[in-house]
Protein backbone atom coordinates (compact mmCIF):
# COMPACT_ATOMS: atom_id res chain seq x y z
CA UNK A 1 0.00 0.00 0.00
CA UNK A 2 1.43 3.38 -0.98
CA UNK A 3 1.85 6.21 1.51
CA UNK A 4 -0.91 8.12 -0.22
CA UNK A 5 -3.31 5.22 0.11
CA UNK A 6 -2.51 4.85 3.81
CA UNK A 7 -3.17 8.54 4.31
CA UNK A 8 -6.52 8.24 2.56
CA UNK A 9 -7.47 5.08 4.44
CA UNK A 10 -6.52 6.60 7.77
CA UNK A 11 -8.33 9.87 7.10
CA UNK A 12 -11.56 8.19 6.09
CA UNK A 13 -11.33 5.82 9.03
CA UNK A 14 -10.94 8.75 11.44
CA UNK A 15 -13.80 10.71 9.90
CA UNK A 16 -16.16 7.74 9.83
CA UNK A 17 -15.35 6.64 13.37
CA UNK A 18 -15.10 10.01 15.10
CA UNK A 19 -18.20 9.35 17.22
CA UNK A 20 -16.78 6.03 18.43
CA UNK A 21 -13.50 7.68 19.32
CA UNK A 22 -15.31 10.44 21.17
CA UNK A 23 -17.45 7.97 23.13
CA UNK A 24 -14.40 6.03 24.19
CA UNK A 25 -12.53 9.19 25.23
CA UNK A 26 -15.59 10.42 27.10
CA UNK A 27 -15.88 7.12 28.96
CA UNK A 28 -12.46 7.83 30.48
CA UNK A 29 -12.55 11.54 30.97
CA UNK A 30 -16.26 12.19 31.68
CA UNK A 31 -15.74 15.70 30.48
CA UNK A 32 -16.93 16.99 27.15
CA UNK A 33 -14.10 19.47 26.52
CA UNK A 34 -11.38 17.10 27.61
CA UNK A 35 -12.84 14.31 25.48
CA UNK A 36 -12.95 16.62 22.45
CA UNK A 37 -9.35 17.64 23.08
CA UNK A 38 -8.31 14.01 23.44
CA UNK A 39 -9.92 13.05 20.11
CA UNK A 40 -8.39 16.05 18.42
CA UNK A 41 -4.94 15.24 19.78
CA UNK A 42 -5.32 11.58 18.81
CA UNK A 43 -6.42 12.36 15.26
CA UNK A 44 -3.63 14.87 14.87
CA UNK A 45 -1.06 12.44 16.24
CA UNK A 46 -2.31 9.58 14.05
CA UNK A 47 -1.91 11.68 10.91
CA UNK A 48 1.43 12.98 12.06
CA UNK A 49 2.82 9.53 12.80
CA UNK A 50 1.15 7.59 10.01
CA UNK A 51 4.53 6.55 8.65
CA UNK A 52 4.88 4.33 11.70
CA UNK A 53 1.76 2.37 10.80
CA UNK A 54 3.24 -0.61 9.01
CA UNK A 55 0.24 -2.88 8.67
CA UNK A 56 -2.98 -1.26 7.43
CA UNK A 57 -4.93 -4.19 8.93
CA UNK A 58 -3.86 -3.01 12.35
CA UNK A 59 -5.18 0.48 11.73
CA UNK A 60 -8.07 0.31 14.17
CA UNK A 61 -5.98 -1.07 17.03
CA UNK A 62 -3.27 1.49 16.27
CA UNK A 63 -5.68 4.44 16.43
CA UNK A 64 -7.32 3.15 19.61
CA UNK A 65 -3.93 2.72 21.21
CA UNK A 66 -3.05 6.34 20.50
CA UNK A 67 -6.37 7.52 21.91
CA UNK A 68 -6.25 5.32 25.01
CA UNK A 69 -2.71 6.49 25.78
CA UNK A 70 -3.79 10.10 25.46
CA UNK A 71 -6.70 9.48 27.83
CA UNK A 72 -4.37 7.81 30.35
CA UNK A 73 -1.97 10.70 30.07
CA UNK A 74 -4.78 13.13 30.66
CA UNK A 75 -5.96 11.18 33.71
CA UNK A 76 -2.42 11.07 35.01
CA UNK A 77 -2.11 14.79 34.61
CA UNK A 78 -5.11 15.09 36.85
CA UNK A 79 -3.25 12.60 39.07
CA UNK A 80 -6.45 10.73 39.69
CA UNK A 81 -5.42 7.49 38.20
CA UNK A 82 -4.52 4.36 40.09
CA UNK A 83 -3.53 1.47 37.92
CA UNK A 84 -4.55 -1.93 39.10
CA UNK A 85 -2.15 -4.61 40.05
CA UNK A 86 -4.06 -7.68 38.98
CA UNK A 87 -2.45 -9.90 41.59
CA UNK A 88 -3.73 -7.80 44.43
CA UNK A 89 -6.94 -6.69 42.79
CA UNK A 90 -9.66 -7.10 45.36
CA UNK A 91 -12.35 -8.91 43.50
CA UNK A 92 -14.59 -8.85 46.54
CA UNK A 93 -16.24 -11.77 48.07
CA UNK A 94 -19.79 -12.77 47.37
CA UNK A 95 -20.75 -11.83 50.90
CA UNK A 96 -19.86 -8.19 50.26
CA UNK A 97 -22.94 -6.11 49.69
CA UNK A 98 -23.26 -4.89 46.12
CA UNK A 99 -22.34 -1.25 45.67
CA UNK A 100 -25.32 1.05 46.15
CA UNK A 101 -25.28 2.01 42.57
CA UNK A 102 -26.19 -1.24 40.97
CA UNK A 103 -26.00 0.32 37.52
CA UNK A 104 -23.40 -1.72 35.68
CA UNK A 105 -22.19 1.18 33.50
CA UNK A 106 -21.33 3.16 36.63
CA UNK A 107 -19.57 0.17 38.15
CA UNK A 108 -17.50 -0.29 35.00
CA UNK A 109 -16.51 3.38 35.16
CA UNK A 110 -15.42 2.87 38.74
CA UNK A 111 -12.97 0.10 37.82
CA UNK A 112 -9.26 0.88 37.53
CA UNK A 113 -8.78 2.34 34.03
CA UNK A 114 -6.68 -0.49 32.62
CA UNK A 115 -9.41 -2.97 33.52
CA UNK A 116 -12.24 -0.69 32.45
CA UNK A 117 -10.44 -0.29 29.11
CA UNK A 118 -10.59 -4.00 28.45
CA UNK A 119 -14.25 -4.27 29.42
CA UNK A 120 -15.22 -1.27 27.30
CA UNK A 121 -13.26 -2.35 24.26
CA UNK A 122 -14.52 -5.90 24.50
CA UNK A 123 -18.19 -5.30 25.24
CA UNK A 124 -18.92 -1.75 24.07
CA UNK A 125 -16.72 -1.71 21.01
CA UNK A 126 -16.85 -5.44 20.26
CA UNK A 127 -13.11 -5.76 19.73
CA UNK A 128 -11.37 -9.09 19.91
CA UNK A 129 -9.04 -9.88 22.78
CA UNK A 130 -6.18 -10.00 20.30
CA UNK A 131 -6.89 -6.46 19.21
CA UNK A 132 -7.23 -5.37 22.82
CA UNK A 133 -3.88 -6.95 23.55
CA UNK A 134 -2.37 -4.84 20.73
CA UNK A 135 -4.11 -1.68 21.95
CA UNK A 136 -3.08 -2.06 25.56
CA UNK A 137 0.36 -3.35 24.59
CA UNK A 138 0.00 -6.24 26.99
CA UNK A 139 0.21 -9.98 26.37
CA UNK A 140 -3.01 -11.79 25.57
CA UNK A 141 -2.77 -13.70 28.84
CA UNK A 142 -2.67 -10.46 30.84
CA UNK A 143 -5.69 -9.16 28.95
CA UNK A 144 -7.58 -12.32 29.82
CA UNK A 145 -6.58 -12.20 33.47
CA UNK A 146 -7.66 -8.59 33.71
CA UNK A 147 -10.90 -9.25 31.89
CA UNK A 148 -11.81 -12.08 34.25
CA UNK A 149 -10.77 -10.07 37.28
CA UNK A 150 -12.91 -7.20 36.05
CA UNK A 151 -15.91 -9.37 35.36
CA UNK A 152 -15.57 -10.95 38.75
CA UNK A 153 -15.37 -7.59 40.39
CA UNK A 154 -18.48 -6.56 38.52
CA UNK A 155 -20.15 -9.73 39.78
CA UNK A 156 -20.94 -10.73 36.27
CA UNK A 157 -21.33 -14.35 35.64
CA UNK A 158 -19.02 -15.59 32.93
CA UNK A 159 -21.79 -17.78 31.67
CA UNK A 160 -23.23 -16.45 28.49
CA UNK A 161 -20.43 -13.88 28.24
CA UNK A 162 -18.90 -14.38 24.89
CA UNK A 163 -15.16 -14.04 25.19
CA UNK A 164 -13.83 -14.32 21.68
CA UNK A 165 -10.14 -14.00 21.19
Amino acid sequence: MSKKEIDRLLTSYLIENQAKLYRLAYSYLKNREEALDAVQTAVCRALERQDRLRDPNALRAWVYRILVNICYDQLRQRQHIVFADTDTLDTGSYEDPLPDDSDLAARIDALPPDIATIIRLRFYEDLSLREISAITESPLSTVKTRLYAGLKKLRLSLEGVNVIE
Binding site: R23, V43, R45
Partner: protein, 280 residues
Protein backbone atom coordinates in the same frame (compact mmCIF):
# COMPACT_ATOMS: atom_id res chain seq x y z
CA UNK B 1 -31.93 -7.23 28.13
CA UNK B 2 -29.05 -8.29 30.29
CA UNK B 3 -26.97 -5.88 32.33
CA UNK B 4 -24.10 -5.71 29.88
CA UNK B 5 -26.39 -4.90 26.99
CA UNK B 6 -27.96 -2.15 29.07
CA UNK B 7 -24.54 -0.73 29.90
CA UNK B 8 -23.59 -0.85 26.24
CA UNK B 9 -26.81 0.87 25.19
CA UNK B 10 -26.09 3.60 27.69
CA UNK B 11 -22.54 3.93 26.42
CA UNK B 12 -23.79 4.24 22.85
CA UNK B 13 -26.10 7.04 23.98
CA UNK B 14 -23.16 9.27 24.96
CA UNK B 15 -24.14 12.58 23.37
CA UNK B 16 -21.77 13.57 20.56
CA UNK B 17 -20.95 17.30 20.57
CA UNK B 18 -21.82 19.13 17.36
CA UNK B 19 -18.32 20.53 17.00
CA UNK B 20 -16.69 17.10 16.96
CA UNK B 21 -16.47 17.00 13.19
CA UNK B 22 -14.88 20.46 13.04
CA UNK B 23 -12.33 19.42 15.61
CA UNK B 24 -11.54 16.24 13.70
CA UNK B 25 -11.18 18.14 10.45
CA UNK B 26 -8.82 20.63 12.06
CA UNK B 27 -6.82 17.80 13.63
CA UNK B 28 -6.47 16.09 10.26
CA UNK B 29 -5.11 19.25 8.71
CA UNK B 30 -2.85 19.92 11.68
CA UNK B 31 -1.54 16.35 11.73
CA UNK B 32 -0.73 16.41 8.03
CA UNK B 33 1.04 19.73 8.43
CA UNK B 34 3.08 18.53 11.39
CA UNK B 35 4.02 15.43 9.48
CA UNK B 36 5.36 17.28 6.48
CA UNK B 37 7.01 19.86 8.70
CA UNK B 38 8.66 17.11 10.69
CA UNK B 39 9.91 15.36 7.58
CA UNK B 40 11.19 18.63 6.24
CA UNK B 41 12.91 19.38 9.54
CA UNK B 42 14.55 15.99 9.60
CA UNK B 43 16.01 16.34 6.13
CA UNK B 44 16.98 19.95 6.65
CA UNK B 45 18.61 19.21 9.98
CA UNK B 46 20.40 16.19 8.56
CA UNK B 47 21.71 18.24 5.65
CA UNK B 48 22.83 21.02 7.96
CA UNK B 49 24.55 18.54 10.25
CA UNK B 50 26.38 16.86 7.34
CA UNK B 51 27.53 20.17 6.03
CA UNK B 52 28.73 21.21 9.46
CA UNK B 53 30.69 17.97 9.78
CA UNK B 54 32.22 18.41 6.35
CA UNK B 55 33.36 21.88 7.14
CA UNK B 56 34.71 20.79 10.48
CA UNK B 57 32.85 23.50 12.30
CA UNK B 58 30.75 21.28 14.50
CA UNK B 59 30.92 23.21 17.68
CA UNK B 60 29.39 21.35 20.58
CA UNK B 61 29.09 24.11 23.11
CA UNK B 62 26.19 23.39 25.48
CA UNK B 63 24.86 20.69 23.22
CA UNK B 64 24.19 23.08 20.39
CA UNK B 65 25.82 22.75 17.02
CA UNK B 66 26.52 25.79 14.93
CA UNK B 67 24.60 25.71 11.71
CA UNK B 68 26.21 25.84 8.37
CA UNK B 69 23.16 27.00 6.50
CA UNK B 70 23.00 30.60 5.39
CA UNK B 71 20.13 32.18 3.62
CA UNK B 72 21.23 33.91 0.43
CA UNK B 73 22.62 37.36 0.99
CA UNK B 74 20.51 40.16 -0.45
CA UNK B 75 21.47 43.71 -1.13
CA UNK B 76 24.32 43.65 1.32
CA UNK B 77 22.50 45.61 4.02
CA UNK B 78 21.59 42.59 6.07
CA UNK B 79 21.16 38.85 6.03
CA UNK B 80 19.14 36.41 8.05
CA UNK B 81 21.28 33.56 9.31
CA UNK B 82 20.51 30.35 11.09
CA UNK B 83 22.74 30.78 14.11
CA UNK B 84 21.70 27.63 15.91
CA UNK B 85 20.60 24.48 14.21
CA UNK B 86 20.15 21.42 16.28
CA UNK B 87 18.27 18.18 15.87
CA UNK B 88 18.58 15.50 18.50
CA UNK B 89 16.71 13.22 20.80
CA UNK B 90 17.87 13.75 24.37
CA UNK B 91 16.23 12.23 27.45
CA UNK B 92 12.99 11.72 25.57
CA UNK B 93 12.92 15.24 24.18
CA UNK B 94 13.06 15.55 20.41
CA UNK B 95 14.67 18.91 19.70
CA UNK B 96 14.33 20.45 16.27
CA UNK B 97 15.84 23.89 16.47
CA UNK B 98 16.55 26.38 13.72
CA UNK B 99 17.14 29.71 15.35
CA UNK B 100 17.61 32.78 13.17
CA UNK B 101 19.54 35.98 13.71
CA UNK B 102 19.70 39.18 11.70
CA UNK B 103 23.21 40.06 10.65
CA UNK B 104 23.35 43.78 10.10
CA UNK B 105 25.08 46.83 11.45
CA UNK B 106 21.98 47.95 13.26
CA UNK B 107 20.72 48.48 16.78
CA UNK B 108 17.32 47.15 15.83
CA UNK B 109 18.90 43.93 14.60
CA UNK B 110 20.94 43.60 17.80
CA UNK B 111 17.80 44.06 19.92
CA UNK B 112 15.86 41.51 17.87
CA UNK B 113 18.70 39.00 18.08
CA UNK B 114 18.95 39.35 21.84
CA UNK B 115 15.19 38.96 22.19
CA UNK B 116 15.10 35.81 20.05
CA UNK B 117 17.97 34.29 21.99
CA UNK B 118 16.30 35.03 25.30
CA UNK B 119 13.01 33.54 24.13
CA UNK B 120 14.67 30.38 22.86
CA UNK B 121 16.51 29.89 26.14
CA UNK B 122 13.29 30.41 28.08
CA UNK B 123 11.46 27.93 25.87
CA UNK B 124 14.12 25.27 26.34
CA UNK B 125 14.11 25.75 30.09
CA UNK B 126 10.32 25.61 30.26
CA UNK B 127 10.13 22.54 28.04
CA UNK B 128 12.62 20.71 30.22
CA UNK B 129 10.81 21.54 33.42
CA UNK B 130 7.38 20.66 31.91
CA UNK B 131 8.76 17.33 30.77
CA UNK B 132 10.29 16.58 34.15
CA UNK B 133 7.08 17.46 35.97
CA UNK B 134 5.16 15.20 33.65
CA UNK B 135 7.60 12.33 34.13
CA UNK B 136 7.51 12.73 37.89
CA UNK B 137 3.71 12.72 37.89
CA UNK B 138 3.66 9.73 35.55
CA UNK B 139 5.79 7.53 37.79
CA UNK B 140 4.40 8.92 41.04
CA UNK B 141 0.94 7.83 39.97
CA UNK B 142 1.94 4.28 39.22
CA UNK B 143 3.15 4.48 35.62
CA UNK B 144 5.77 1.85 34.80
CA UNK B 145 8.90 2.17 32.73
CA UNK B 146 7.30 -0.15 30.21
CA UNK B 147 4.25 2.05 29.86
CA UNK B 148 6.43 5.11 29.57
CA UNK B 149 7.95 3.37 26.55
CA UNK B 150 8.48 5.59 23.56
CA UNK B 151 6.84 8.66 25.03
CA UNK B 152 8.57 11.76 23.86
CA UNK B 153 8.19 15.45 23.74
CA UNK B 154 8.75 17.58 20.66
CA UNK B 155 10.42 20.94 21.04
CA UNK B 156 10.53 22.86 17.81
CA UNK B 157 11.92 26.27 16.96
CA UNK B 158 11.79 27.30 13.36
CA UNK B 159 11.63 30.49 11.39
CA UNK B 160 10.30 31.61 8.06
CA UNK B 161 11.08 34.71 6.04
CA UNK B 162 7.69 35.99 4.92
CA UNK B 163 8.96 38.75 2.65
CA UNK B 164 12.02 40.85 2.04
CA UNK B 165 13.29 43.74 -0.02
CA UNK B 166 16.79 45.15 -0.24
CA UNK B 167 16.26 47.12 2.93
CA UNK B 168 13.40 45.46 4.80
CA UNK B 169 12.56 41.99 6.04
CA UNK B 170 9.55 40.37 7.66
CA UNK B 171 10.03 37.04 9.36
CA UNK B 172 8.35 34.89 11.96
CA UNK B 173 9.87 32.63 14.61
CA UNK B 174 7.68 29.69 15.64
CA UNK B 175 7.99 27.88 18.93
CA UNK B 176 6.20 24.64 19.62
CA UNK B 177 6.16 22.28 22.55
CA UNK B 178 4.22 19.08 21.94
CA UNK B 179 3.43 16.09 24.19
CA UNK B 180 0.05 15.45 25.80
CA UNK B 181 -1.00 18.88 24.73
CA UNK B 182 0.58 21.03 22.10
CA UNK B 183 1.43 24.66 22.54
CA UNK B 184 2.69 26.95 19.90
CA UNK B 185 3.76 30.54 19.75
CA UNK B 186 4.63 32.78 16.84
CA UNK B 187 6.77 35.87 17.14
CA UNK B 188 6.86 38.35 14.27
CA UNK B 189 9.64 40.72 13.30
CA UNK B 190 9.35 43.44 10.67
CA UNK B 191 12.52 45.41 10.22
CA UNK B 192 13.46 48.43 8.18
CA UNK B 193 17.24 48.14 8.20
CA UNK B 194 17.83 51.27 6.16
CA UNK B 195 16.25 53.45 8.83
CA UNK B 196 17.12 51.06 11.66
CA UNK B 197 13.58 50.73 12.98
CA UNK B 198 10.60 48.40 13.24
CA UNK B 199 7.97 48.62 10.54
CA UNK B 200 4.54 49.42 12.01
CA UNK B 201 1.02 48.76 10.81
CA UNK B 202 0.63 52.54 10.47
CA UNK B 203 3.53 52.53 7.97
CA UNK B 204 1.69 49.99 5.87
CA UNK B 205 -1.94 51.07 6.23
CA UNK B 206 -1.77 54.79 6.97
CA UNK B 207 -3.14 56.74 9.90
CA UNK B 208 -6.49 54.91 9.91
CA UNK B 209 -4.73 51.61 10.50
CA UNK B 210 -6.67 50.73 13.65
CA UNK B 211 -10.03 51.12 11.95
CA UNK B 212 -8.89 49.34 8.79
CA UNK B 213 -7.61 46.37 10.79
CA UNK B 214 -10.64 46.17 13.07
CA UNK B 215 -13.13 46.27 10.18
CA UNK B 216 -11.25 43.62 8.28
CA UNK B 217 -10.85 41.33 11.31
CA UNK B 218 -14.48 41.65 12.41
CA UNK B 219 -15.63 40.85 8.86
CA UNK B 220 -13.43 37.75 8.80
CA UNK B 221 -14.67 36.59 12.21
CA UNK B 222 -18.24 37.11 11.00
CA UNK B 223 -17.50 35.06 7.86
CA UNK B 224 -16.05 32.21 9.90
CA UNK B 225 -19.40 31.27 11.44
CA UNK B 226 -20.52 28.11 9.69
CA UNK B 227 -23.99 26.88 8.68
CA UNK B 228 -24.58 25.53 12.16
CA UNK B 229 -23.73 28.83 13.81
CA UNK B 230 -20.44 27.50 15.13
CA UNK B 231 -17.35 29.66 15.38
CA UNK B 232 -14.05 29.26 17.20
CA UNK B 233 -13.97 32.93 18.02
CA UNK B 234 -15.03 34.12 21.45
CA UNK B 235 -17.69 36.81 21.49
CA UNK B 236 -16.31 40.27 22.39
CA UNK B 237 -18.02 40.26 25.79
CA UNK B 238 -16.38 36.93 26.66
CA UNK B 239 -12.82 38.01 25.95
CA UNK B 240 -13.06 37.92 22.18
CA UNK B 241 -11.53 40.35 19.74
CA UNK B 242 -12.12 44.06 20.40
CA UNK B 243 -9.38 46.06 18.76
CA UNK B 244 -5.81 46.00 17.48
CA UNK B 245 -3.20 48.26 19.07
CA UNK B 246 0.51 48.95 18.79
CA UNK B 247 1.33 45.69 20.56
CA UNK B 248 -0.59 43.62 17.97
CA UNK B 249 1.73 41.28 16.20
CA UNK B 250 1.88 40.99 12.39
CA UNK B 251 4.04 39.99 9.47
CA UNK B 252 4.17 41.14 5.88
CA UNK B 253 3.25 38.70 3.17
CA UNK B 254 5.14 38.44 -0.10
CA UNK B 255 2.49 40.53 -1.88
CA UNK B 256 2.89 43.30 0.72
CA UNK B 257 -0.31 42.44 2.64
CA UNK B 258 0.08 42.74 6.41
CA UNK B 259 -1.15 39.65 8.28
CA UNK B 260 -2.20 40.21 11.89
CA UNK B 261 -1.39 37.34 14.26
CA UNK B 262 -3.10 36.47 17.56
CA UNK B 263 -1.65 33.91 19.96
CA UNK B 264 -3.48 30.69 20.82
CA UNK B 265 -6.42 31.07 23.20
CA UNK B 266 -6.45 34.87 23.08
CA UNK B 267 -9.46 35.52 20.88
CA UNK B 268 -10.53 32.01 19.90
CA UNK B 269 -10.67 28.56 21.44
CA UNK B 270 -7.44 26.59 21.56
CA UNK B 271 -8.59 24.35 18.74
CA UNK B 272 -8.25 27.25 16.33
CA UNK B 273 -4.54 27.48 17.16
CA UNK B 274 -2.73 30.68 16.24
CA UNK B 275 -5.17 32.94 14.42
CA UNK B 276 -4.11 35.05 11.46
CA UNK B 277 -5.97 37.70 9.49
CA UNK B 278 -4.67 39.16 6.23
CA UNK B 279 -5.66 42.83 6.15
CA UNK B 280 -6.78 43.77 2.67
Amino acid sequence: MNELEKAKARYLETPIPAELHHRVRIAIRQGRQNRSRKNWHRSFAAAAACLAMLMGVLNLSPGIAMAAADVPLLGGLFQILTIRSYAALEDGVDYQLNVPAVEADSETAARVNAEIEERVDALLAKAQSDWQDYQTAFFATGGTQEEWGERQMDVIVNYEIKSQTETTVSFVVDFAEGWVSAQQQRFCYNLDLENDRDITLADLLGEDWVEICNNSILAQIEASVDDEGFSYFFPAERGGFTTVDTSTSFYIRDDGTPVVVFPEYTIASGAAGIVEFPIR
